[in-house]
């Protein structure tokens, strides 16, 4: 064996616990990389399965969907591994600075010094990477199993999707993925080792012999905080000074803890926002099943006015809709609320006098004289229309204005009455310029409007008319026996709107479907849970890599400082107060990590909320729960490492340490 390789080997043997933890770190990062590469190849196989080779028309975007998260995760893993592994090697190089000095005096070249460190990393890779690959394959296998469990639930809900799909991942043993992750990890470890080794090799022999080497102790005069002294006493002051003067040794620990805190808080924030979106999307109505008819449309530009007009290919009239309503109600114990709407045909121009002040404010430009609004024409089933007329105290056949508008003001939902009650008629204009005078006989305000009509509610001008041709019709049904009703309802729709067998979405120019209202929520729920499970496991494993760093740094620290500890002991420091000093060091370390991590984590969740706020009325909330959990976990980690250090200190003999 070459002498450089042998030196590396014995170095690994001497500090066993550090070697072990470094191995774990390397194995874990290899495992994570392998798992992610395997997921990508499995996901690729799934996409090829139902999209075909090259993923069809939207190939690029699907590929991005697969690759972007993989790259982000990969970068995170590599960044973490570099921090952890290079820290190990930096400390190792620092420890051996005198040894390097001796070697240089005996005539070792810079390259040979570099080689001893690099051999160390090769030894570590030789064991860590194969173990990691095995672990990674197991991880991928388990992960795919978990994903399939969620996919199973999704597949059972597939009938609400436009296309019939069957999601399932298969474990793909891809040697390219394994090779890629092995190479990636090898390069990562080599780079991490090379940086500190290169530095150490450049230190002049004479400085190595003096023992100065790479350690740069901060020599500025340091004040210790009064608070630390008051809280933790003299041991606290010592711990504080050591942390401040020797901050490079603790930097990697602080960084890995902070990264964990940031990721954890961001995840917590993301999840709570995903849940808030889910809540918001929940329509809040009593019905359980929606039967739906929707027509295809085409857009063209009107030559006369230059406006875009929308042509419905198969609009539905009130008569057909009523036929469906009647039939649906024939199913036992079933109430039906039928709504049809047309949002694209008309617009209207209203003068300022008819518009409430709040609405004008909402449009910001208050100086405007006339406001143009798109008009939504709504038609209901006969019974509910009659009820609505009764509420508005107008005869059947009247047009009723729903005087309610809600919009999202940067995270807050604003509800207002857009029009003054003096409004008596509207002039509806079509894209071709033709007009229609629409009298407004009744007005309903927010608390008079039935819940079903709030969904969806994006239009300011909503007119309920007795009869109309509309693009689509939805029947909100509340049957007692749900599954039987869905079957029945499908038959009814098939009868009234017959379609050719096996025609896919919109090939007929229209589409019908029946689904449970909760199904969409369920799909979203499953998707959110699936993503959450994966993100949390990823972060947990990433944190495990960070944890190995915390432990290995600490154990090396205790070894390296054995002389310092021995001196402290020999001047009369009791083992208890020595242990206390170490405890304070870890406490101060975690406080530091939290001080960096929490604000950044809060900032990340805040910025994630920004785009969400522009779409949904979901204001920013500080994820307190995650923060509290984080603090607990960080202190748990430091507490356990503290125990570990105390255990190490027990086996120390003062005289041996001083003489070494």
């Amino acid at each position: 064996m070459k002498i450089t390789a042998k030196l590396a080997y014995s170095q690994l043997k001497i500090n066993r616990s550090r070697t072990l933890w470094t191995l774990i770190a390397i194995a874990l990062s290899t495992a994570l990389t392998t798992a992610i590469c395997s997921f990508v190849s499995s996901g690729n196989a799934m996409l090829v399965d139902f999209l075909g080779e090259n993923y069809g028309v939207y190939g690029k975007s699907y590929l991005m969907l697969l690759l972007i998260p993989a790259v982000i995760f990969g970068v995170l893993i590599i960044a973490m591994s570099v921090t952890v592994v290079s820290n190990v090697f930096r400390i190792s190089a620092q420890e051996r600075v005198t040894e390097f000095g001796i070697m240089k005096c005996t005539g070792a070249t810079q390259k040979q010094i570099l080689d001893t460190v690099m051999y160390e990393s090769i030894w570590l890779c030789a064991i860590g990477i194969p173990v990691g690959i095995c672990l990674g394959l197991i991880l991928a296998f388990a992960g795919i199993h978990v994903a399939n469990h969620f996919f199973g639930d999704l597949n059972s809900l597939a009938h609400i999707m436009i296309n019939e799909i069957n999601l399932s991942l298969h474990f793909v043993f891809s040697w390219q993925a394994i090779l890629l992750s092995a190479v990636l990890c090898f390069m990562t470890v080599m780079y991490s080792a090379w940086r500190p080794a290169h530095k150490a090799a450049k230190v002049p022999a004479i400085e190595c012999i003096r023992g100065a080497g790479e350690t740069r102790i901060n020599t500025k005069p340091l004040g210790t905080s009064y608070l630390v002294e008051k809280l933790f006493g003299f041991e606290g002051t010592l711990a504080d000074k050591n942390l401040k003067r020797n901050h490079r040794n603790f930097r990697a620990t602080v960084i890995s803890l902070s990264v964990g805190v940031i990721l954890f808080i961001s995840l917590g924030g993301l999840q709570s926002q995903a849940n808030a979106i889910e809540d918001y999307m929940n329509p809040g109505i009593d019905q359980t099943v929606i039967s739906e008819y929707i027509s295809d449309y085409a857009n063209e530009i009107d030559e006369g006015t230059g406006r875009e007009k929308t042509i419905y290919l198969h609009p539905v009239d009130s008569e057909s809709a009523n036929r469906v309503t009647q039939k649906l109600e024939e199913f036992e114990d079933t109430s039906v609320f039928g709504i049809g709407n047309d949002m694209d045909t008309y617009y209207t121009v209203l003068s300022k006098e008819l518009i409430s002040v709040k609405m004008q404010e909402a449009f910001e430009d208050e100086a405007q004289l006339n406001y143009e609004f798109p008009v939504e024409i709504i038609t209901l089933d006969q019974k509910n229309y009659a009820k609505l007329c009764e509420k508005a105290k107008v005869p059947i056949g009247s047009t009723i204005l729903l005087n309610h508008y809600s919009y999202n003001d940067f995270g807050h939902e604003v509800n207002l009455e857009p029009f003054l009650s003096s409004i008596k008629k509207m002039e509806l204009v079509k894209a071709d310029g033709s007009t229609l005078d629409m009298p407004v006989q009744g007005i309903l305000t927010q608390n008079q409007i039935p819940q079903e009509l709030f969904y969806p509610n994006t239009n300011p001008v909503r007119l309920v008319v007795s009869k109309a041709m509309v693009r689509g019709f939805s029947w909100y049904c509340a049957p007692v026996e749900i599954d039987g009703f869905i079957e029945y309802s499908n038959k009814v729709l098939e009868d009234v709107f017959p379609s050719e067998v096996n025609s896919s979405y919109m090939e007929e120019g229209f589409n019908t479907r029946v689904y449970k209202i909760n199904d969409y929520m369920k799909v979203m729920n499953i998707a959110i849970s699936l993503v959450a499970v994966f993100m949390y496991s990823f972060v947990a494993l990433l944190m495990l890599i960070g944890l190995t760093n915390v432990i290995s740094t600490l154990s090396t620290n205790v070894l390296m400082r054995s002389r310092e500890f021995a001196v402290l002991k020999s001047v009369g420091m009791t083992p208890e107060s020595l242990r206390r000093m170490l405890n304070y060091e870890s406490i101060l370390c975690s406080i530091k990590a939290l001080l960096y991590g929490i604000p950044i984590g809060i900032a990340v969740t805040f910025f994630v909320n920004l785009p969400i706020r522009t779409i949904f009325p979901i204001p920013y909330k500080i994820p307190w729960l995650s923060i509290i959990l984080c603090v607990l976990v960080v202190f748990l980690i430091t507490w356990s490492t503290k125990r570990y250090a105390a255990h190490k200190l027990k086996n120390q003999n003062i005289i041996d340490s001083i003489r070494s």
Binding site: K6, S10, T98, T106, G107, A108, Q110
Partner: protein, 227 residues
């Protein structure tokens, strides 16, 4: 024949206000087979001189020739390789690699050249330093005197141009000191090994062929004791 030539060697530490001239235009030469002691009080510039001759520090001015080669003209790596083949160094604190056995420590300069050959040379050195029985021991399993003998062995393994010993007895009791000095003298006489010994102990210096006294970075005297 001069093995070592030191010419107008100057080393200045610090700059401007904190300028310290550790060596001030020092010149001398050492012939093959000579045993030269360099003495001086602490702070006189001994160690600086030693580090410069050993090629682990660079001078502010002046030059050193070892076997007619000007060592500071060599690059960092060339100098390292030159050092392992031509200079044997012994330190006050032994400076052995703790993870290598005694024989590996002795062989280190050769191992750095990837040479495990010439076991005869190793065993003759082990015999000379009297550690044949303890060749496989780690430094931590040896006494101070034994460790220092290992470093003498390491200095001699490559038959260097000269051995440079910096206070080799500074850390040892008087009996062990004698043993080490005797060992060095033996190497000097038997193998015609050139020996440069730095010490502050006059008794040890008196055993040399020639004593160079240094003070304030200058040579105060250069006396030949035994012709």
């Amino acid at each position: 024949m001069a093995v070592l030539e030191v010419k107008r060697l100057t080393k200045i530490y610090g700059s401007e206000d904190t300028k310290i001239t550790a060596l001030d235009h020092v010149s001398f030469s050492v012939n093959k087979g000579e045993f030269v002691a360099i003495i001086g009080a602490s702070g006189s510039g001994k160690s600086t001189l030693m580090n410069l001759i050993g090629g682990i520090d660079r001078p502010t001015e002046g030059s050193i020739f070892i076997d007619k080669r000007e060592i500071f003209k060599l690059s960092e790596s060339e100098l390292a390789i030159f050092r392992r083949r031509n200079i044997g160094m012994i330190y006050q604190f032994y400076n052995l690699i703790p993870t290598l056995t005694a024989e590996e420590n002795i062989m280190l300069p050769r191992l750095l050249d990837n040479r495990w050959d010439d076991r005869d040379k190793l065993s003759s050195i082990l015999e000379m330093i009297g550690l044949s029985e303890r060749a496989k021991h780690l430094p931590s399993q040896l006494s101070g005197g034994q460790q220092q003998r290992v470093s003498v062995g390491r200095a001699m393994i490559n038959d260097p141009a000269f051995i440079l010993a910096d206070e080799p007895t500074g850390n040892l009791d008087s009996k062990t000191s004698h043993e080490i000095i005797d060992l060095l003298k033996f190497a000097n006489k038997k193998c015609r090994q050139t020996l440069l010994l730095i010490t502050h102990d006059e008794k040890i210096a008196l055993q040399a062929d020639r004593i160079i006294t240094i003070g304030d970075g200058k040579i105060l005297s250069d006396e030949v004791m035994k012709p």
